[in-house]
Every structure is written in structure tokens, then in C-alpha cells.
């Protein structure tokens, strides 16, 4: 989705995070930077537990508490987005330079597909106007059965498929 190479992207993202930390009186710790790198290395949605295991497997010294703490900062500066796909486990995904999209979730296997439809913004605009408030974000999920879903079909509305 991005015209940038991944190499440039991670640099951009680190710069953004670094600036955010400085501007908000937070310290730049190696843990925070390595969590950011690890997240931008992931192509799928992830939970805190999964990220913790991945980092442990890479022999990175990290604690769950630090991951939770850092994720709060990353949400605050807009570098990741938090989702709740109907389970009591928060799922996160990187959000810098990624096209806005919504999710199609398989009720059987939990697989998450992404799609986008411009009409959601029209609905959001209407809802904003009718209620005279600023909507900060939205979450649109469709739930279905993916046994009929062909993963690799080329479809301009499907951005990517993720587990």
C-alpha cells in the first residue's frame, strides 16, 4: 500500500516515535524502540502475548509490562491501532502508511480479511453532522464463514488476508 520501501518505512516510523517521546517528556529506551521495530516487522494482527513470545524467541530481553506500557504510547501517537474482534483478547496492527480498511472475520477459524469501502465515510460524515460531534474513529467488522472464501482471488477491495 505504501510507495516506500520497508527500510525507509521503519526509519520514518522510528523518527516519528522518537519525536513523540521527546515532545511528550518520555524517555527513549532501547525496549521501546525494539518493540516498535518488532511490530513493524509483523505483517499480521497480533496480541500482546504473541508479541511477547516472538520477542522472547528472538532472545530479546523484555517484559509483558513494558509491552503493555509501550503499546499505550504507540496507540497515543497513532502508530498502531487496537481492535477487539469479539473476543476478550485485544488485537493490534501497525497503522503508519497503511490504507484505512475494515475487517471481515471468519466465525469458524478466526481468520481476518481486510477490505475497504468509501461509503463508510459517508455514513460517518452523516452521523457526525446529525449529532454535532467529532467522530474520532470507527470500527466496522463483518462476520461470516470463510470456507467459501478463496484466499488468493484478486479483488481490488481485499487489501490482504491475515490470520
Amino acid at each position: 500500500m505504501s510507495a516506500m520501501s520497508n527500510t525507509n518505512q521503519i526509519d520514518d516510523v522510528k523518527k516519528l516515535f522518537s519525536d513523540y517521546l521527546v515532545n511528550n517528556g518520555h524517555r527513549q529506551t532501547p525496549e521501546r524502540i525494539s518493540i516498535l521495530s518488532e511490530i513493524y516487522d509483523q505483517d499480521n494482527h497480533f496480541s500482546v502475548e504473541l508479541l511477547y513470545i516472538i520477542m522472547k524467541n528472538r532472545n530479546l530481553s523484555i517484559s509483558r509490562a513494558t509491552i503493555y506500557n509501550t503499546i499505550e504510547l504507540l496507540i497515543d501517537c497513532g502508530l498502531i491501532i487496537k481492535h477487539q474482534f469479539g473476543k476478550n483478547i485485544a488485537q493490534y496492527e501497525k497503522s503508519y502508511a497503511y490504507k484505512q480498511h475494515d475487517h471481515l472475520i471468519c466465525m469458524d477459524c478466526g481468520k481476518v480479511f481486510e477490505f475497504c469501502d468509501p461509503r463508510i465515510h459517508q455514513i460517518q460524515k452523516t452521523t457526525e453532522e446529525m449529532n454535532n460531534l467529532k467522530i474520532v474513529k470507527h470500527s466496522l467488522n463483518f462476520y461470516g464463514k470463510c470456507n467459501t472464501l478463496e484466499e488468493n482471488k484478486s479483488c481490488k477491495y481485499i487489501i490482504s488476508n491475515k490470520v
Copy 2:
């Protein structure tokens, strides 16, 4: 939203649940019926814990385990809907004879407003067609700040406001 009185509605709902139980080889227990009654007595979204406390306060003998068990059955037969409004607490609401609607959630106080916009069905239909699968349900939530929301304004798109 319903043309029925509440008295008739609870009778209809009990009949539906009763039929569902019989048809699916489940037993009709007083606990299951009283949980259903309690839920249809509520006008707001509720969590399992809240329902448990409400029933305990009414001196009804009930356990959390039975509530969780019964709620599964009620979801299965379509009498209630489960929501996850971004927190790790499942919220439920009765769904019989209530107009389909989506939610507008205040990021500050957690208040939940309801609205409906027919365009969501057009998006759903497109997504179904493009992916050749049956979408079973959807969840659309807008998140904003309700200090600018006037609760009592008459607006045809706002069905009701709930906490």
C-alpha cells in the same frame, strides 16, 4: 420500536426460547426462564456481572456459571446480541423486535448511543458479492466525544441513548 406491549413481548420471547430449548434437546429450567425475563426487563446494555448483581439484589438464586451458559443459548437462538465496545468486557442487549442499529460510543464516559443508516446494508451486500460468502452479522461502532452531544435532541437517526 415494537408495536407490541411489553407484556406481550415477554410472552412471545418466552415462547420462542421455550421452543428453541425443546427443539434443541435442552431442558426448560426456572433459572433459564428467569434470566431471559431479567434481560428483557433491562433497557440498557448489560454485562454478565451487572446482570448477576441485579438478580442477586432481587434475591434470585443464580450463579454466574448459569448466566454464562444461558447467555450462550440466548445468543444462539437470536434473542440477545453480544458486543465488545473496545473493552475486555462483553456487553449484551436484547434483540427481539428491536430495530437493527449500530453504536456511537463516547470515548470519555463510555455512554452508548444508537443510530441506524441504511447504507451499511449496501456495503454489506457489496462485500458479500465481492467475496462470494454469506455475511452473518456486522458490527459498526463510531467513537467520539459526547460533551458536544445533546442527549435529548430529537433526531430520527438516534433511536435511544443508553449507558
